[in-house]
């Protein structure tokens, strides 16, 4: 990986020397690099430097540098597939590794290096195809020059450049190809000629992950490494008033106790020493303004607010007047709790500062933000901060921290000690450390006409903004945080409801909130798809038929809804004691419908089968999409059945998997995934499977029991 402070060209030269092969690359003016580093969130899109992505070694190994972080979603396979398709290399020789933090790897839409929003494949699709095609043309040009024939008579195939009977391996041509100019507009393949894109492809990261060799942030080892655990305020916004380090320092293996902005760190020779040391710390906290906060009180406050109109998010006609004329009206309040991400790998980051440069090792979704934040703490130019992206043991949004909270702690401690320091969060730290999916409340009112068709819709939402206070806030198009209302303000049903209004109360609390797999859709899909189901039943119509009537005939949503319903066999008789519910929702450019078949066993909801239909546009790796749909279902199901972070006396009440349970193997439904063939714009796959599962289960529960549960987690008692 690149050493700090090296120019891109030097980095390339060094990498090439180290690897003994070629990294085709473009240099980046240092001025632009600096601007990028300082204003990363608002920087213009970088000039595409397509060939920063491919390294071809003399032994034909093709290494694809990943601009996105592998956190399970499969980018370390899907992104190389896109490059390899155009490169015409031998797939068996392809490997991948995380790219360093560099403007060359900036997101083409968000303009900073990050992984999120289910954007990885579509945002880089054209860029990576272009990179692959450019490299292919350079290899062909190198061979043509060597043979003294026109490039137009040569072709690339399966890792060779071929001219008549002559063949040259990519590995033999790479050194020559490197010296050639990068073609400005290489010719891309016709999609009908694709051989890799669209084929179910085995993951490239399986072998290291089944052998225990995959290196996660947690696994980073450095000579002289200290492990630190930080005692953070049990109250958000609380501060250390005073502390006694004596007992902590007396623990064998504890090296030091250091106060940092986020709390008091105990540094040890290993995790266990640091853990024992932290347990022995005596801290007097100033709890701050959150000392009396309780979830019950917050809900009461939200319930008051939700009954008053908020700032308009979407409006057409006069919803109030239409409600007054409706033949039948319905009103309901919905609530969803704070949720922790609870990735299997608790947060961690290793930092080392040496010779005026800083290195950080982390499973991160936000290299640019981490680099800038680390530089600020270290007192260095961002160009002097190297980010080593390790495998992420799950991300789900938590590892895309706009404040780099889990990174800066490590940098503070590396600076203070002069040694490499790994800050490790325990599971308790993770669940009690904030940055939750916000608690949301919704109030919905709808009016039906004589035919049972909705003519009025009013939806008020109350909750905290995720974007406010982050550098991303500058990107807000309006004063409303779109992540609060996505999926509600643009609910597809509104198009056919002449008078509607969606509005928002944005609350301010000290509880840190963050994007959690599917972000705003994680509450709006539950609310909208549950309430639509309520309307269907109130109008005496079948939930599928009712939705179909409201969705445009040739719409993606209707196709996906139909696919799921047909694949499930909607309407057929189910086993005694079973019932089915359906939900369809668009998020991140993809539409997903789930049909959930459930039963209730001793008061416990059992989900037996989920039929999923997805339209995410053209698919790179169908096996990966299937895996992400299954994954999204399980993640959403954990939230639907169990997930809840609550507060009493300002403190989080949950601490580990015994009181923050998640779905386990014996509860896993059979999930059948149907990918709808589609030429729509490519969408995402990592998140869209999550939003519709909670409402599908809640709707099934209503069909089975007649009970409408309007808050998550779903509780029968």
């Amino acid at each position: 990986m690149s050493a700090p402070g090296l120019s891109r060209r030097a980095f390339i030269a060094r990498s090439a020397a180290a690897g003994g092969g070629l990294l085709i690359g473009l240099s980046l003016p240092s001025g632009l690099r600096r601007i990028f580093a300082q204003q990363a969130w608002s920087a213009p899109a970088p000039k595409i430097s397509p060939n920063a992505f491919i390294r071809i070694a003399p032994d034909d190994t093709v290494t694809i540098l990943l601009k996105h972080s592998e956190m399970g979603q499969g980018v370390s396979t899907s992104l190389p597939m896109v490059v390899a398709e155009e490169l015409e290399c031998d797939w068996r020789h392809v490997r991948s590794e995380h790219a360093p933090a560099d403007i060359a790897y900036a997101h083409t839409v968000f303009h900073s290096q990050m992984t999120g929003g289910s954007t990885s494949t579509w945002e880089s699709f054209d860029q990576l195809r272009t990179a692959g095609a450019a490299a292919r043309e350079m290899l062909i040009a190198a061979a043509a020059a060597r043979w003294g024939v026109p490039a137009g008579e040569c072709r690339a195939e399966n890792g060779f450049v071929i001219h008549g009977e002559r063949r040259a391996r990519f590995g033999e041509l790479a050194a020559d190809a490197e010296k050639l100019p990068v073609p400005a507009a290489p010719k891309l393949k016709d999609p009908k000629d694709w051989k890799i894109i669209g084929q179910a492809t085995h993951r490239l990261d399986s072998p290291v992950k089944v052998s225990g060799q995959a290196e996660f942030g947690m696994d980073v080892r450095r000579p002289g490494l200290l492990t630190a655990l930080v005692a953070r305020s049990p109250w958000f916004g609380g501060k250390v008033r005073s502390f006694q380090a004596g007992n902590a320092k007396a623990v064998a293996g504890v090296v030091d106790v250091i106060e940092i902005p986020s709390g008091v760190a105990v540094l040890g020779e290993n995790f266990w020493a640091a853990r024992q040391g932290r347990d022995a710390l005596e801290i007097v906290w100033d709890p701050g303004s959150m000392a009396r906060h309780s979830t019950a009180g917050q809900l009461e406050d939200y319930r008051r607010q939700v009954r008053t109109p908020g700032a308009i998010a979407a409006a057409k006609g006069d919803a109030e007047a239409a409600l007054a004329t409706a033949a039948k009206t319905l009103e309901a309040e919905y609530a969803v709790p704070y949720l922790a991400h609870a990735m299997m790998e608790p947060l961690n980051c290793t930092a080392e500062i040496k010779d005026g440069a800083c290195e950080i090792w982390a499973g991160t979704q936000f290299q640019t933000g981490d680099q800038i934040a680390a530089a600020k703490v270290a007192g260095l130019d961002p160009a002097r901060v190297t980010v080593h992206t390790m495998f992420l043991g799950g991300g789900f949004g938590r590892r895309a921290s706009p404040h780099a909270d889990f990174v800066t702690e490590a940098v503070h401690l590396a600076k203070a000690t002069g040694r490499p320091v790994k800050v490790v969060w325990t599971r308790e730290d993770d669940l009690q450390g904030g940055h939750y999916r916000p608690l949301w409340m919704s109030r919905l009112r709808a009016g039906l006409n004589n035919h049972g068709r909705p003519i009025a819709w009013a939806h008020t939402i109350v909750g905290q903004s995720i974007l406010t206070g982050t550098p991303f806030a500058a990107r807000l198009k309006t004063t409303l945080d779109q992540t609060s209302i996505e999926g509600a303000a643009d609910a597809p049903y509104l198009e056919s409801i002449p008078d509607h209004r969606v509005d928002l109360h944005t609350t301010e609390l000290r509880i840190p909130v963050l994007w959690w797999r599917s972000v705003g859709h994680s509450h709006t899909a539950f609310v909208v798809e549950s309430f639509i189901d309520e309307l269907a039943h109130a109008s005496g119509k079948d939930p599928v038929a009712f939705r179909r009537d409201l969705l445009a005939a040739d719409s993606r949503r209707r196709r996906v809804l139909d696919t799921a319903a047909q694949a499930f066999g909607w309407g057929r008789t189910l086993l005694e004691g079973h019932a089915a519910g359906i939900a369809v929702h668009e998020s991140f450019g993809s539409v997903v419908a789930h049909v959930a078949e459930i039963s209730v066993d001793n008061g416990r909801i059992r989900v037996h089968r989920v039929v999923c239909a997805v339209d995410c546009g053209p698919v790179v790796n169908p096996d990966g999409v299937e895996a992400q749909m299954q994954s999204g279902v399980v993640f959403g199901l954990s939230a639907a059945l169990y997930g809840e972070i609550t507060f009493r006396d300002g403190r989080v009440e949950q601490s580990n998997f015994h009181d923050y349970p998640v779905v386990r193997l014996h509860e896993m439904p059979r999930v059948e995934v149907h990918i709808v063939k589609s030429n729509e714009k490519m969408g995402g796959a990592g998140e869209p499977g999550t939003p519709p599962i909670a409402p599908a289960v809640a709707n099934a529960l209503f069909a089975l029991t007649g009970k409408r549960l309007r808050s998550l987690p779903l509780r029968l008692a």
Binding site: M71, P207, V210, N270, G393, Q630, F657, M668
Partner: protein, 155 residues
């Protein structure tokens, strides 16, 4: 204290109550065994003690001394245990963090029950959490591993 890990003998100087997990990871440098909860709730730290699945995050190292300890690194010298083969064949992994623990639990199950039923798999594998939700493929891969191992096969 003497420990036998993956067939090799080690002499470590650590407190008796240090959990085996941290001895493996921080003292011996074997990082394949993972920390997930520290309370034997998630199974990421699963190793074998004399061939049986154990949660190493709550096992004081003193109680592991004198037993054969096997970690993911030592499950198979080539990393080609039937469970590992099946995991690769069916693309089970996603983030991969829980998978060493899943694989160790599955390998221990197959040793005791060479042809497990779904109920056997439920019973043996429900202690291992996967937040990516790979459970469906885990179940399929355990069945597949049983096939690969064959009757009286090597597990």
């Amino acid at each position: 204290m003497k420990l036998q890990v993956n067939g090799k003998d080690y002499d470590v100087s650590v407190p008796d109550d240090m959990p085996l997990l941290w001895v493996l990871r921080d003292v011996l440098g074997m990082t394949g065994t993972k920390y997930g909860c520290g309370m034997a709730l998630c199974g990421a730290c699963t190793v074998h003690l004399d061939g049986r699945a154990q949660r190493s995050c709550v096992l004081p190292v003193s109680r592991a001394a004198g037993h054969r300890i096997t970690t993911i690194e030592g499950l198979d010298p080539q990393g080609e245990h039937p469970v590992q083969q099946a995991w690769v064949e069916l693309d089970v992994v996603q983030c991969g963090y829980c998978q060493p623990g899943q694989i160790m639990s599955a390998a221990a199950l197959l040793k005791e029950v060479p042809k497990p039923s779904d109920a056997d798999i439920d019973a043996a594998m429900s202690g291992n959490i996967c937040r990516c939700g790979t459970y469906q493929r885990i179940r399929a891969a355990v069945h597949r591993a049983a096939e690969i191992a064959g009757p009286g096969g090597r597990t």
